[in-house]
């Protein structure tokens, strides 16, 4: 039954999708915190993302456990104490490019875009809006954005002893290299 519904789902995609959807399974989302005491960096190279150029819809999905830190202990604290990744394994973003008409998808080049949508981290959803760029290239579309988030907005509790080591604002970097989703 599961296979059948998957097949129907895929057929539905195949019918509705042509060159309108772009996808990546190894997109990058990283965050960076700088304080006088310490720089902290977490990188995730396993973000699944879809961009629909007919509507401007953007969807990102990432596993919290895919964030990689240089130090093993940091990764453990990130997963167990702050993100509670066993309880909340995924983070998602569902949004839209609000100025889609200013992008010419048939002409190679870099375009400024504004993206608005719902960012879900730690099972808390917040509206975000950010500026970024879309680069229309021969092999696909590259999307770049940088914005800040505040951990406390997502009910991520950082205890007082450690709080000073982590910037109040985390800088989030998004780099997606989308390829056309071939209709099968």
């Amino acid at each position: 039954m599961k296979r059948l519904s998957l097949l129907i789902f895929l057929l539905a995609i195949a019918i509705t999708v042509n060159a309108q959807k772009f996808m990546t399974k190894n997109g990058f989302i990283g965050f960076f915190s700088h304080t006088a005491m310490e720089d902290i960096k977490g990188d995730n190279n396993q973000v699944a993302a879809v961009l629909d150029i007919s509507t401007g819809d953007m969807v990102f999905q990432a596993l919290i456990k895919s964030f990689h830190f240089d130090r093993a202990l940091m990764e453990e604290h990130f997963n167990e104490n702050y993100m509670e990744s066993d309880k909340f394994p995924k983070s998602t973003f569902k949004g839209k490019i609000t100025n889609l008409s200013s992008v010419n998808f048939s002409k190679n080049g870099t375009y400024d875009v504004t993206v608005e949508g719902d960012l879900m981290i730690h099972d808390v959803t917040n509206k975000i809006s950010t500026k970024g760029t879309l680069e229309v290239a021969p092999e696909g579309i590259n999307a770049n954005a940088k914005f800040n988030i505040i951990p406390e907005d997502f009910k991520i509790i950082i205890p007082g002893v450690v709080r000073e080591k982590i910037n109040k604002n985390l800088e989030v970097t998004v780099i997606m290299k989308y390829a056309p989703l071939a209709g099968k």
């Binding site: 895929l10 399974k25 190279n45 394994p89 995924k90």
Partner: protein, 143 residues
């Protein structure tokens, strides 16, 4: 100063130093080297992907945070940010694979689609594909 006070002081200093060194060691500890780590499970990419597709909850319980040694045929090799390499393996499902993210392989050009390969890494879970992190190349056989 009496001898036992000296001994006690020496002991306190020793414990404090050991504590500081131990804390520093733990703080700076890197990830375990997957090339040397003992795998918890040895599976093929097809079996692993099917386990998650059939029952994600059960497979998550079994595999997440475990060290897996996965073998399969390379579907694609893609560069990722910060010099990481993303290798996806062929499974029984054309749209869902096992994606292994490796923190830099000395010569990724030696890997190409169709080759049989064995990788070892930590399982992060399942999105559209089964995701493995911190992977090391164990073996690749030219066909």
């Amino acid at each position: 100063m009496k001898l036992y006070v000296k001994i006690a002081l020496g002991f306190v200093v020793f414990v404090a130093l050991a504590g500081i060194l131990g804390a520093l060691y733990l703080f700076n500890l890197k990830h375990s080297d997957m090339a040397k780590a003992k795998p918890d499970f040895i599976v093929t990419a097809t079996v692993l992907q099917k386990a998650f597709e059939d029952n994600e909850t059960a497979a998550s319980k079994l595999y997440i945070n475990k060290i897996l040694e996965v073998s399969g045929k390379i579907a694609s090799v893609k560069p990722a940010e910060n010099k990481f390499i993303s290798i996806s393996l062929v499974t029984g499902n054309d749209l869902s694979s096992v994606i292994c993210t490796c923190p830099a392989i000395s010569d990724p050009s030696m890997l190409s689609a169709g080759e049989e390969i064995t990788l070892r890494g930590e399982c992060s879970g399942f999105l559209m594909d089964v995701l493995l992190n911190n992977c090391a190349l164990i073996q690749n056989k030219k066909k």
